[in-house]
């Protein structure tokens, strides 16, 4: 079904960030990382060449899920955890729309974990942005499934004993075709990832590390701090060796024996650039991306960027359309007549 209206819509005139700002006052805490993500999205959308009315933002419940109210497109602030399912229904019945999901680590991975992995498995063409602040913000500070061990929160006064999910490992284990990580405050890298996600066919899953100034302040400081950043981050670039550090002289080598990556330094112990693993977003197997998803402090830098981006299977809505086309070719366009006798014998009474 194509919206009759979207057919009528004129060629998109040049849109600007302003066009994507709604009239609602943004109500996050001053200093919240959500502001930066909002700005990045509002800046990215007009660059995509898509009419504003063709976007729909769907969210669940949480601070992060207030997102749709602030973006001047179609939007739905739904119920806790269900955004991927609602968005799936919308995208499947309206493949002409660009459907984005804004969710949190609680909304998307706790109560909504199942819908998230099923959307990813089906490869529904959704752009899912998961705001990971490792805490339940809106309900004032309980731990989430990404909170770290030992974290003291409202519901773990003596420290958290739930070991966390790694959102990217979850997405890859669920057959993700586009899996990426970004940081709220790194506007450029975030915008790049958003742009890449926008053009991906199928589910694009992006974890954005987001600071909650009130209930989990500084969770990602090591990754953001000017001094530690270069050593703490591993920026992923397709086709490029995995190098990091201020001098870009550290790298990731694969140890076949231990079947583990290891951090090495170029030039030390005879390490050459050819020894360094080369990033391949398009690897058919998710094994490389999965291995990367396991890397992080304290022994490894944290990879940032696109872990995996493959078009090995059709987007779900494409399969739906295709199946309809093939069936219609075989059975003919449906009519009331065909409908009423579907799969049944009929007889005439005179």
């Amino acid at each position: 079904m194509t919206a009759p209206s979207s057919l009528q819509s004129p060629k998109p005139t040049a849109l600007t960030k302003k066009d994507f700002e709604s009239d609602q006052t943004v109500r996050w805490c001053p200093g919240c990382g959500d502001f930066a993500i909002l700005a990045a999205v509002q800046k990215t959308l007009p660059t995509l060449g898509i009419p504003r009315e063709n976007f729909a933002f769907i969210s669940g419940i949480g601070c992060s899920s207030r997102f749709p109210y602030y973006v001047d497109t179609y939007g739905m602030h739904t119920i806790h955890g269900r955004a991927p399912a609602i968005a799936s229904g919308l995208k499947i019945s309206r493949p002409d729309l660009e459907v984005w999901v804004a969710t949190g680590d609680g909304d998307g991975l706790s109560i909504g974990g199942n819908h998230l992995i099923h959307a990813i498995r089906r490869n529904v063409g959704l752009k899912i942005v998961l705001f990971n602040n490792r805490i339940y913000g809106l309900t004032k500070g309980q731990f989430s499934p990404t909170s770290v061990l030992g974290q003291k929160t409202k519901s773990t006064p003596y420290g958290n004993i739930d070991s966390p999910f790694n959102p990217l490992s979850v997405a890859l284990g669920a057959e993700g075709t586009f899996v990426a990580r970004a940081i709220d405050t790194d506007a450029k890298q975030l915008s790049e990832v958003l742009t890449r996600a926008a053009t991906h066919k199928g589910t694009a899953f992006i974890e954005v590390l987001q600071n909650c100034v009130v209930f989990n302040d500084g969770a990602f400081d090591a990754l953001k701090d000017k001094d530690t950043k270069a050593d703490a981050q591993l920026p992923l670039e397709h086709g490029k060796p995995m190098l990091f550090g201020k001098e870009k002289n550290k790298g990731i080598r694969w140890n076949v024996k231990t079947f583990q990556p290891e951090v090495v330094q170029l030039g030390v112990d005879g390490v050459k650039i050819e020894d360094i693993l080369v990033h391949d977003e398009h690897a058919e197997s998710p094994a490389l991306a999965f291995m990367l998803s396991r890397m992080g402090a304290p022994n490894f830098p944290t990879p940032i960027g696109v872990f995996r981006a493959v078009q090995t299977r059709p987007a779900y809505e494409e399969s739906v359309v295709d199946m309809e086309k093939r069936t219609t070719e075989k059975l003919g366009e449906g009519s009331f007549d065909k409908l009423f006798s579907a799969g049944a014998e009929t007889w005439q009474v005179r």
Binding site: E53, S88, G89, R94, H115, T328, L339, T346, Q348, V349
Partner: protein
């Protein structure tokens, strides 16, 4: 096969008869039943059918737990149910006899396959001795026929394996029943040819021969008696056999076609609602999308997404699934998006009795959401009526921008009857208009008459807006924590639903408009109550029948109708849920009649109660 001349003796005339076919899952019982039904319908009878499947997928062959059944009541008028008790039992094996004999009318007829009464089968059935010989069947009219042997004889020259030959037994039985009830076997012969057209010719041939052999057997067997059930007056037209779940599916698809929109069904399989998904999933050339979601929550919420996008959205389930959908339905109600939720009620609570029927979700439908969350509720009366009910549900949902709950049940889901295929131009109109006008657009500005808000779908330039589950400003739809706005919204949501009373037919009384007793029902008890009331009236009782399709809001004349009778009887397959609602809304003093046994009332039970009361 030639149709034979008139029978030796003229057939006994019957106003109606109830026949049950029973056998092992592999015996083709459902097929015989359906074909017999079809020929009866073509023969001009009115009828109603109900299959009976074993609770286990494939219980051990030859055991009573593995027996499947098909019951049909046919008659020359007023057949509304598959019959209280079979008059005739066709049992393909000892287990089928064992499992069904108790239901047979005293003095009824048993037709069985003598060949199947082997030592081993008797043992599997749990018969210590052969019931054909030990007096078990005293008091019944028994025809134990060597169906296997006769069938084999008829197919002797076809060179088939004995296993394949055995498969044709059911057509022998069908042929025999054709003879007994004076059906023309010709159309069936044709139908067999069509059905097996793509298989080896021997398949059609063997089944036709078996059919013929059965028919001939009846003709030649001295002992058999013929019956004639005279034709009823049936509206002319094209007919098909339809179950409640099929009718629901077609109703939804037809409603979407009428609205000119795509149908989206977000669903998760659950007994006894799954067939709605199955039916619709075959309609991929009809602008129908079926989405088998990961659970019921995703079933309803994906439908909400589709509704936001402009589809005719529906979700189907049964009790446990309805429980899971509660939060999602509440969201749809707050968003004021059209959505049809179908609850095929089954025995509860919890997993309960999944394959059994019950009407115990009415109060749950009414109050099964947190907060003040009213929505329209309607129910279907008969299998074919599910079609009209589904269309009405879509009409209300789209006209009033609201989720609508439609209740059917396990009995309706599988129960079936002939359905006259409607002329397209006689179908109700469903007008769906999307808002496109930018000027003055407010997401929650209401139509002054229906109180519906506009449906403005994504893709419409200039109408970009956000909706959500938090309380909303009465006009803009923006989040509002304002105290009086909340109260206003609570009231307007209630008023919108209450207003629908102006848009639905009055509660109809079948029988006199006043009298000694009114029997009030809802849903699938319709046929049972209608039969009982007709019978009681025939006996001179001043009893009438009123049956609810709309359960929220109730029709405007409800109180007047209820209070026009000296007494009111409310039979329900629950502990008194409609009763509770009527008491609450109309201070109605009534008598409840409650059966919570996972099965429909018997007409006889109802009749007895009516007679006791007036």
């Amino acid at each position: 096969m030639e149709t034979k001349a008139a029978p030796k003796s003229s057939p006994h005339e019957l106003e109606s008869v109830t026949i049950r076919f029973a056998g092992d899952s592999g015996d083709g019982v459902q097929l015989v039943g359906t074909q017999f039904m079809k020929s009866s319908a073509m023969g001009g009878n009115v009828l109603s059918t109900l299959p009976d499947f074993p609770a286990e997928i494939r219980a051990p062959a030859g055991t009573p737990a593995g027996v499947s059944g098909f019951q049909i009541q046919l008659g020359s008028k007023d057949v509304y149910t598959p019959g209280d008790q079979p008059d005739v039992l066709v049992a393909f094996n000892p287990a089928a006899l064992k499992a069904n004999l108790a239901d047979l009318r005293k003095g009824g007829t048993v037709i069985c396959n003598r060949d199947a009464f082997t030592e081993k089968n008797l043992q599997l059935a749990g018969y210590p001795a052969n019931p054909l010989l030990d007096g078990t069947l005293n008091g019944y009219q028994v025809f134990d026929i060597e169906i296997g042997k006769h069938t084999a004889a008829a197919l002797a020259d076809l060179g088939m394996s004995s296993k394949d030959v055995a498969r044709c037994k059911n057509y022998f039985a069908l042929g025999l029943m054709f003879w007994v009830y004076g059906r023309d076997p010709e159309p069936e012969t044709k139908s067999i040819r069509t059905k097996f057209a793509k298989k080896e010719p021997v398949v059609a041939e063997s089944n036709i021969r078996a059919l013929q052999a059965g028919y001939t057997y009846g003709e030649n067997a001295e002992m058999m008696v013929r019956y004639h059930v005279p034709s009823a007056t049936i509206a002319p037209g094209r007919y098909r056999h339809i179950t409640g779940n099929q009718a629901t599916a077609l109703g939804l698809a037809a409603a979407a076609k009428l609205a000119g929109r795509r149908l989206f069904l977000g669903s998760y399989p659950i007994t006894p609602a799954s067939e709605i998904l199955h039916e619709l999933s075959a309609l991929k050339n009809h602008q129908v999308t079926t989405f088998q979601a990961e659970d019921e929550i995703a079933g309803v919420t994906s439908s909400i997404g589709a509704a936001f996008g402009g589809a005719i959205a529906a979700t189907n389930t049964s009790g446990p699934g309805l429980a899971l959908k509660s939060e999602g339905i509440s969201l749809a109600l707050m968003l004021e998006l059209p959505l049809v939720i179908i609850d095929v009620q089954r025995g509860g609570p919890s997993t309960g009795l999944p394959t059994k029927t019950e009407q115990s979700d009415l109060l749950f439908a009414m109050y099964g959401r947190h907060g003040e969350a009213p929505l329209p509720i309607l129910c279907a009366w008969t299998p074919a009526d599910c079609f009209d009910t589904a269309i009405e549900a879509v009409r209300l949902a789209t006209k009033y921008m609201t989720p609508v709950l439609m209740l059917t049940d396990g009995y309706l889901s599988l129960g079936a009857e002939p359905w006259r295929i409607p002329e397209t131009d006689k179908l109700p109109k469903i007008e769906v208009k999307f808002r496109t006008e930018k000027e003055g657009f407010q997401p929650y500005q209401r139509d002054p008459k229906t109180l519906a808000r506009p449906w403005a779908i994504p893709g419409t330039p200039g109408l970009e807006h956000r909706i959500g589950g938090l309380e909303k400003d009465a006009l803009t739809g923006n989040i509002s924590y304002d105290a009086l706005n909340h109260e206003k919204m609570i009231k307007v949501r209630a008023e919108k639903v209450a207003n629908i009373a102006n848009d639905i037919p009055d509660l109809k009384v079948e029988g006199d408009q006043s009298g000694d007793l009114l029997v009030v029902g809802w849903g699938s008890t319709y046929g049972f109550i209608a039969s009982a009331v007709k019978q009681a009236r025939a006996k001179g009782k001043k009893v009438s029948h009123a049956h609810f399709r709309h359960l929220n809001p109730f029709p405007k004349n409800t109180e007047k109708v209820l209070k026009s009778f000296k007494k009111v009887l409310i039979p329900e397959m629950n502990s008194g849920q409609l009763h509770a609602l009527l008491r609450q809304e109309f201070f109605l003093q009534a008598t409840g009649m409650n059966k919570v046994q996972g099965k429909p009332f018997k007409v006889g039970e109802l009749l007895a109660k009516i007679q006791e009361m007036c």
